[in-house]
């Protein structure tokens, strides 16, 4: 009987079985950011512990960092305090910090893959639920809480229960104007926001195989929105060529040896799965969320569904969503007026996302009533985008071109919605209040769809804008 990638990685990283029945799992790469780490370092100090493998932890700043200035001290004294804390903690415990303006800084889940830190067959942990992103490279990557950040710092291990594996197969191909974001929104819509609890999602099928590494990252990124703590794609030639030459990837002969090991970690053809789900690429359209969780999504040409369209235990949340969003069942999502357009985040803040959005942005001007932001995912993404002139395209169309950070995905920095503003957003969560205003409303969609909404001033179908 063959094994899944998850089983192979789990076995390779098992230190021991704990008396409780859990696994003591070695963590190959630990990523740290400023919001979920200060208390963990403080616990180390209180308990007199050191960092066991400081060379296996890397830190950056992304959540609270302003995107319009890098001037220190920050105007927000709390943000400045958090910044100082991570600087002090990294210096004291010997951890490499990718500081702002170093050329490396960025959203933690953009940075890991692009630096070649994330590699196939590794275990990756970070105090952030979107750590599932790194699964795109064939890593077993998952989010943890701050006490677990402390555990990884002190022991390079976690006490974990092995999840079940569901193979999520997307065959066929995607139509023009349909992107990786639409694929994952569609999967979550169909499998539900709690369908993945207790599972790892292994994404497979022709659509996933055809995707670029960055597109796979978008898909894996939102696994957690479907309840799956981790999602991954088996490593293939695309994975290996993506990693070749990256700063922290192995070099020369070591790279060739690495490829052989990475390949051996992929799921075997006869691996057994706990569950399978099948989709066709052709059935997926440009997808937009209309509600207050990422499963409340429809194709852009569909109407807001009635309560009867949901299983009984989702109807109450649907009713809550109608009220909060100011929408009625049967109402089209297309034509909904927007106030803000946000392109960025660990879901869709990479170079290929910005390219797709720029293709739309060059076709028009942002409507005067719309505030439109483009926030590259990292300093490296920003450099590459600027080298191609994407920033000029966005600026000419009326978008603001900002500096890297999480920005309006969760609004811990000054980029926030106001009152009941509606935001077309390429981020990952449309929870109530997520974008900084307790009454703010978020419509999740692909970067190209966000750019199209910015130009139209309302939700539109990007397929009607893109040249044939």
């Amino acid at each position: 009987m063959g094994k899944t990638l998850l089983e192979k990685v789990w076995e390779a990283h098992t230190v021991r079985e704990l008396p409780s029945g859990q696994t003591q799992l070695f963590i190959g790469l630990h990523l740290v950011h400023e919001v979920t780490s200060p208390q963990a370092f403080e616990m180390l100090r209180e308990q007199g512990l050191r960092v066991l493998f400081p060379e296996r932890t890397f830190a950056t700043v992304d959540h609270i960092i302003p995107t319009d200035t890098r001037q220190r001290p920050y105007a927000d004294p709390q943000a400045e305090g958090m910044m100082r804390a991570i600087e002090r903690n990294c210096a004291e415990f010997g951890i490499r910090l990718f500081q702002a303006s170093s050329g490396y800084q960025g959203i933690v889940h953009v940075l890991g893959p692009e630096l070649g830190l994330t590699q196939p067959g590794m275990t990756v942990a970070c105090g952030d639920s979107h750590t599932s992103t790194h699964g795109a490279l064939g890593a077993v990557a998952f989010g943890i809480g701050t006490s677990q950040v402390r555990d990884v710092l002190a022991t390079q291990c976690l006490a974990m229960q092995r999840p079940k594996v569901r193979r999520v197969v997307v065959d066929g191909c995607l139509a023009r104007g349909v992107y990786a974001k639409d694929v994952i929104l569609h999967i979550i819509r169909k499998l539900g926001v709690k369908g993945g609890v207790g599972y790892a999602y292994e994404y497979a099928g022709e659509v996933i195989e055809c995707m670029s590494m960055e597109e796979r990252m978008t898909v894996c990124n939102m696994s957690i929105e479907g309840g799956a703590r981790l999602g991954y794609v088996n490593p293939d030639e695309k994975t290996f060529s993506y990693l070749r030459g990256r700063e922290f990837a192995p070099k020369g002969e070591a790279f060739e040896r690495a490829v052989r090991w990475w390949r051996s970690m992929a799921s075997d053809p006869d691996a057994r799965y706990d569950d399978e789900a099948h989709f066709r690429g052709e059935e997926i359209g440009p997808t937009v969320t209309w509600g207050i969780n990422p499963g409340q999504a429809i194709a852009v040409d569909e109407a807001v569904p009635p309560p009867e369209a949901f299983p009984p235990d989702e109807r109450e949340v649907a009713e809550e969503a109608y009220r909060y969003m100011g929408l009625r069942p049967g109402q089209p999502i297309r034509g909904m007026r927007i106030d803000v357009a946000f392109i960025g985040s660990c879901t869709n803040g990479r170079l290929s996302d910005l390219r797709e959005a720029a293709k739309v942005a060059r076709l028009g001007k942002v409507k005067p009533h719309v505030k439109a932001l483009v926030v590259p995912g990292s300093e490296s993404v920003a450099r590459a985008a600027e080298a191609e002139g994407l920033h000029e395209i966005f600026r000419a169309a009326g978008f603001e071109w900002r500096m890297p950070g999480c920005s309006m995905c969760l609004a811990m920095n000054p980029d926030k919605l106001v009152d009941r503003q509606v935001c077309a957003s390429s981020s990952n969560r449309n929870f109530k209040g997520r974008q900084g205003s307790p009454a703010g409303r978020t419509l999740l969609m692909s970067p190209a769809m966000v750019a199209a909404a910015a130009i139209a001033g309302e939700v539109v179908d990007v397929r009607e804008i893109l040249p044939a």
């Binding site: 958090m82 809480g145 677990q148 090991w261 969780n293 969760l410 609004a411 929870f431 997520r434």
Partner: protein, 210 residues
């Protein structure tokens, strides 16, 4: 070595927190996470559900005098509680508000693990039992709710409800080994041996192929 704290039974006044898919952004909005300690997070628990823009209470159950009580508290929740962001600030805010155990239909994975790391058990009961429990609490909140991890039973107003929790987690609580750091560190030699076996830790040296 820190003293082992065994968690076997929680007795406290219950509070029903109704709704499926309650995400951690709702439990603690991100703007309250710009802090370097967890102290004081209790006051921001469910802040935007409890208070309007001017800070005036909106009549949330947590502020309802009928449910006010001193001492440990037990939250009774529905499906997929704690989904979304991995922020430990959410269970920390619950803990600092007074919650010591959660009884629900189901919990999100990361949230569940974060609660475990704080020694705050999350146990699951059937939809029907949770519905009864929430209604019974709303009718008469001033009774103690007992969450017994030894017998895996919850008791309220004389009714016994069977509850579940993965055995490994239950044992950690009963044995007092839920604070994992020391347990993990006991195997320091094995940790180093595991690391030394991993090809990427060894820099993919020539021995990888052998």
């Amino acid at each position: 070595m820190a003293e082992l704290i065994r968690i076997e039974k929680i007795v406290g006044r219950p509070v029903p927190l109704r709704g499926n898919d309650i995400d951690t952004d709702r439990i603690i909005p991100a703007r309250f996470m710009k802090v370097v300690t967890f102290d004081g997070l209790g006051q921001y628990l469910f802040y935007d559900e409890r208070f309007d823009g001017s800070g005036k209470p909106k009549g949330h159950v947590l502020d309802d005098p009928r449910f006010a009580a001193k001492g440990p508290r037990v939250a009774v929740v529905n499906k997929n509680f704690g989904c979304g962001s991995s922020r430990e600030h959410a269970p920390q805010a619950l803990l600092r508000w007074g919650i010591r155990a959660l009884v629900g239909e189901s919990f999100a994975d990361i949230f569940f693990g974060n609660c475990m790391a704080l020694g705050m058990p999350c146990v699951c009961a059937s939809e029907a039992d949770i519905a009864w429990l929430q209604q019974a609490i709303e009718e008469d909140p001033q009774q103690d709710c007992v969450v017994d991890l030894r017998s895996m039973r919850v008791e309220y107003r004389g009714r016994i409800i069977p509850v579940t929790m993965p055995e490994g987690f239950r044992r950690q609580l009963l044995e007092g080994t839920w604070d994992a750091t020391r347990i993990l560190l006991q195997a320091e030699d094995a940790i180093r041996q595991t690391a030394a076996r991993l090809p990427y830790v060894r820099g993919f040296g020539a021995e990888v192929d052998s």
